[in-house]
């Protein structure tokens, strides 16, 4: 595969060609037994003797301020151990919630206040009691003795930005609801649009999508003094929740980081990775309740409460200019971005249309791009961007619009308009098309035998390099001949621990069973990175550490092979060290174990390439086919093709899982999932699994995974992770557009399809998205 990129900057053995362990199928995860049998215990399963339960009051109003609150009756209720109001000095002493490093809130959100910013927001008071039922009773008493100043609100970004909208945060912006406003441009958009052969205007939008996790956030907290503490600075804080970085708690409670013990109750985080904001008030209030009561406190969201946070919604107005040959000349976009309730920090900058037309990494050839990005507050939920940065992809619709106008295949237009510094992009597009037997047709021209309309969806995405986090890897070869790697991060489903073990076995010449990547919650390295990160870059660091350890092992083993034998004459295999010239002379690792260890700190940097820093040299392309029943408006996804350049697949089942899971999500958000609030009261109407409708397995269409291993990318042996770059909210809408010739913003429910087809009026559909009629 030709490439201008090389991996030499990405560490040693990056271009390894022989793999004995890496890439092998059929290797069970170290977690498989526990997960399959139910032996794995999650935070929600944790029970500590004497444990109390904590809950916060939740606002019944979409925007309101507490004017008075009497907690006397609640505090007197038998079984209630603590009631803490927002004006309690200990609450007031807590820093704003953004003090949690990496948290997805801004600095305007206190740990608890008298203000509620959406229906369901935690507000006013928090209680600890002997049971959740007593908590509920106490909160009901508090609610009955609370007076509110109920304020006007707004739910969607267009209404929030409109003139005359109620001002949601007058202390932050007294004029309007704008949270952030920025512009970006390159070239001369106005002139380019004027000189283009064609210009097209289109819109695209997405509603906020809550992080509807299978296991809503749970935190368990307690303080004790059972750890060695030479400086005697007070009790230690033990936490079991969604947050794994101890220094957040250290900052919050003004204690040294080494006195915080995260995740020492169970390593199983469930799906709670990347849902920091869901539990964020718990993270502040849980330890406080535990401190106040002197007992362990468990705070667990219920299903409805897990809708507190959402991926942000957005609305784009785009104008593109292009020529008859299919070259995109200019793109001008205005984006209105729904950052949700106060504290939501879904800033517009990295979701703007500029970013997605430029697609920095691959580098659009389009010379003239401009974007005006505005983020506004609403009362939907607290929004962040995060994974949804990958969901916008406003350029994808541009190529479909151009394809329609020019009678061309959008896959050809993509290849024409993006830089292809290597063959990754062309390879994944070719593979995906082959998998679907892609026969491009103009919109609304192909009818299936059963009478439904057929449509193709297609888009591309760049794959992250993941060179942003430094890892600290300790490897120890012990006297039992096994290699131990303590790892401080819990299990949340990506199986990177298994990947580390496979890479270590590969590099060290160890049998996989002799590599023990074991959970050690106290593994923590403050200033030099940590093994407490989840991911994709960690196997790369494990590789480097294993190479170091192997060098030490061979050096230590050489004298055992006789005088004059050097490490260079030795190699390893199946957990033995052998003489290369005579493999019958060998010794097991155990002979040398006990004293050998390595300590590697580093990260895989951006690739050594002429492209811009942060470049993304590997790509994926997602394709789908849909059938649209024009009489009922039902859209069915018929099949998927996910063509992904993995760089190098370390653990195949994990890699494929990273594709299957987002395609499942895409099915849901593409066809029916959205958070629905009542227009008059702002109350969440579908805050449960039944109402929010996560897809069932019957709804997931067959998936053809087309794997490319270009070895590009700076992860271990190339590439990095896939999942964040697979998810989108555009492939299904594009396919529907191809089927019926109308753009419909997701979720594409039957009412919207019928409106697009003119069967019913678009005004009879409640949606913030667009329906092209």
């Amino acid at each position: 595969m030709s490439s201008t990129y090389n991996n030499t900057s990405s560490g040693r053995n990056q271009n390894r060609s022989v793999f004995n362990v890496v890439g092998q199928r059929g290797i069970p995860s170290m977690y498989s037994y526990a997960l399959a049998t139910g032996a794995a215990k999650f935070a929600r399963d944790v029970v500590i003797p004497g444990m109390l339960f904590g809950k916060a009051l939740r606002s019944p109003y979409a925007r309101a301020t507490i004017t008075s609150m009497d907690t006397t009756a609640a505090a007197a209720l038998p079984g209630v151990r603590a009631v803490i109001r927002w004006d309690d000095p200990d609450i007031q002493a807590l820093p704003p919630l953004n003090s949690f490093s990496g948290m997805v809130v801004d600095g305007t959100l206190p740990a608890l206040s008298a203000d509620a910013y959406f229906e369901g927001d935690e507000v006013g008071a928090v209680v600890a009691a002997d049971s959740e039922e007593i908590c509920d009773q106490a909160l009901a008493l508090i609610m009955a003795n609370t007076k509110w100043n109920v304020l006007p609100f707004v739910l969607d970004e267009k209404s929030s930005y409109a003139s005359g909208a109620p001002i949601l945060n007058p202390d932050l912006n007294s004029k309007n609801n704008v949270y952030s406003d920025s512009t970006t441009s390159s070239g001369s958009v106005t002139n380019a649009l004027a000189s283009s052969d064609y210009t097209i205007e289109y819109t695209q939008s997405y509603p906020p999508v809550p992080y509807h996790l299978s296991d809503p956030a749970t935190g368990v907290y307690y303080w004790d003094q059972d750890q060695t503490d030479p400086s005697s600075t007070g009790p230690d804080l033990h936490v079991q929740d969604v947050m794994s970085v101890a220094f957040n708690y250290a900052s919050e409670f003004k204690i040294p980081g080494y006195k915080v013990y995260p995740h020492d109750l169970t390593q199983y985080m469930g799906p709670q990775y990347c849902c920091f904001i869901q539990g964020i008030r718990y993270m502040a209030l849980g330890p406080l309740l535990a401190k106040r009561t002197g007992k362990p406190v468990r705070m667990a969201q219920d299903r409805r409460e897990s809708f507190d946070v959402a991926g942000a919604g957005a609305h784009f107005d785009i104008t593109i200019g292009f020529n008859k040959d299919g070259t995109l000349q200019a793109a001008n976009g205005t984006m209105l971005f729904n950052t949700g309730a106060r504290g939501g920090n879904a800033t517009a900058y990295n979701m703007n249309s500029y970013n997605y037309f430029w697609m920095g990494p691959v580098g659009s050839k389009t010379p003239n791009i401009a974007s005006h990005s505005i983020a506004v507050w609403t009362a939907m939920a607290r929004h962040r961007n995060g994974l949804d940065t990958a969901s916008q992809m406003v350029h994808a619709q541009a190529f479909y619009r151009m394809a329609e106008k020019l009678g061309k295949d959008p896959t050809d237009l993509v290849l024409l308009n993006f830089n292809t510094p290597n063959s990754s992009l062309s390879t994944v597009i070719a593979n995906g098309k082959k998998a679907l037997n892609w026969q491009w047709h103009q919109a609304g021209t192909k009818k299936l035998p059963d009478g439904r309309m057929h449509g193709y969806g297609f888009r591309i995405k760049d794959v992250a390099v993941a060179g942003t986090i430094t890892y600290h890897i300790n490897l120890i070869l012990k006297s039992d001949g096994k290699v131990y790697m303590p790892i401080g991060e819990g299990h949340f489903g990506t199986f990177f621990q298994d990947c580390c073990a496979m890479v270590i076995a590969e590099e060290l010449g160890a049998s996989l069973g002799d590599v023990i990547v074991s959970y050690d919650p106290n593994t923590m390295e403050w200033n030099n990175g940590t093994a407490r990160d989840r991911g994709a870059g960690m196997p790369w660091a494990a590789k480097e550490a294993a190479i170091d350890l192997k060098a030490k092992l061979l050096a230590a083993a050489a004298p055992s092979f006789g005088s004059g034998v050097t490490a260079a004459q030795l190699d390893t295999k199946n957990s033995t060290v052998y003489l290369i010239s005579d493999p019958t002379k060998n010794f097991p690792f155990s002979k040398f174990g006990g004293t050998l260890a390595t300590d590697f700190i580093g990260k895989c940097d951006a690739p050594n390439t002429s492209l811009a820093p942060g470049t993304f040299p590997t790509m994926n392309a997602i394709f789908c086919e849909v059938a649209v029943d024009t009489q009922t408006g039902v859209v069915e996804v018929l099949d998927w093709a996910a063509a992904c350049d993995a760089g190098k697949v370390i653990r195949p089942s994990s890699f494929e899982g990273q594709i299957e899971q987002p395609l499942m999500n895409m099915t849901g958000v593409g066809l029916y999932q959205e958070m629905i609030r009542d227009p008059q009261y702002g109350v969440l109407l579908n805050g449960d699994t039944l109402g929010f409708m996560p897809p069932t397995i019957l709804d997931l269409a067959p998936i053809s995974i087309q794997t490319t291993e270009s070895r590009m990318g700076t992860g271990c042996y190339g590439g990095v992770a896939q999942a964040h770059q697979i998810f989108d909210r555009v492939t299904i809408p594009l396919a529907v557009y191809n089927a019926i010739g109308k753009w419909i913003d997701p979720p594409i429910t039957p009412d919207k399809v019928l409106a697009a087809l003119g069967t019913i009026s678009a005004s009879s559909v409640r949606t913030t998205g667009g329906i092209e009629t």
Binding site: P60, E133, R304, Q631, T632, G633, L671, Y672, I676, D678, P679, Q680, Y681, V683, L684, L685, N686, D688, L690, G691, M693, P695, T696, L698, D699, T749, P750, D751, L754, A755, T759, I760, S761, S764, V765, R766
Partner: protein
Amino acid sequence: LKTFAHVDVKSIADASTALGAGNAVLIAGGTDLLGRLKDNVLPSYPATVVNIKTIPNLNYINQDSSGLKIGALAFIEDIANSSTVKGTWPALSTAAASVASPHVRAMGTLGGNLAQHVRCWYYRVPNNRFNCIRKGGNTCFAASGDNRYHSIYGAPKGCNSVYPSDTATALMALNASIVTNKRSIGIESFFDALTGTVLGSGELITEVDVPTPPAGSNQSFTKFRLRKAVDFAILSVATMLTMSGSTCTAARIALGGVAPTPLRSTAAESAIVGKTLDANAAAAAASAAVGLATPLQYNVYKVPILKTLITRALTPAS
């Protein structure tokens, strides 16, 4: 859950007594009740939950000379899988198989499925956030709110919810009767637009009787939902048509998801009875059925979809 007394009863009489004592509810599969209790959906909370799963021999599925008799405690899954039901009452087995998920079908009973509460999202918001007309209030919040899943045939008693039971729609087409410990009620009289059912104090379903279908009849059940499993019906259509050659001599057409009770569409029936049943007649029947619809602001889409479902249900296979 709040604390309540849990009483196991051994007989229908004991259940009736316990139920009639006041502030008590029945539990069988519990798939609807427990959700309501957990979410504090209603303004009041029961003091006693009367468990009728302990009543012996109330889960039968029997066929006799008059038809099908199903005990109130028969599981939905058993009805869906019954060869007896599949063979003679396929509309009912299809409807039962479309209910929720395998887990819910394995727990839920026919009696519970018929007596379940509406799924209106205003009704179901936890902690009785909306004390609607169905709960003793004076407002239907859906009327001016988000009513995309609500009634398209009006609110006879002020409530715009839709009745959620799939088996009810099929049983209405099959002309079933609901037997209680006090009476036998024709299915068209069993439901109430505000209280759900006409069951009185101390009254509980004991059996469902389904007559043997007329000779020459055929049946269908069609459910419209967004996901392929789990969801309640946005719309459903059940039919039982008696044919003489290509002529329809009798018809029962029931609609689900359209009103606070399942509805029998006599307008659609009249449009095809005595006529050759072809695509034109099917379309005419569908038009007649939806001609009476009065959709709300956000559920207009249900009308053309219902029309399509009826048309497809009545159109003979080519």
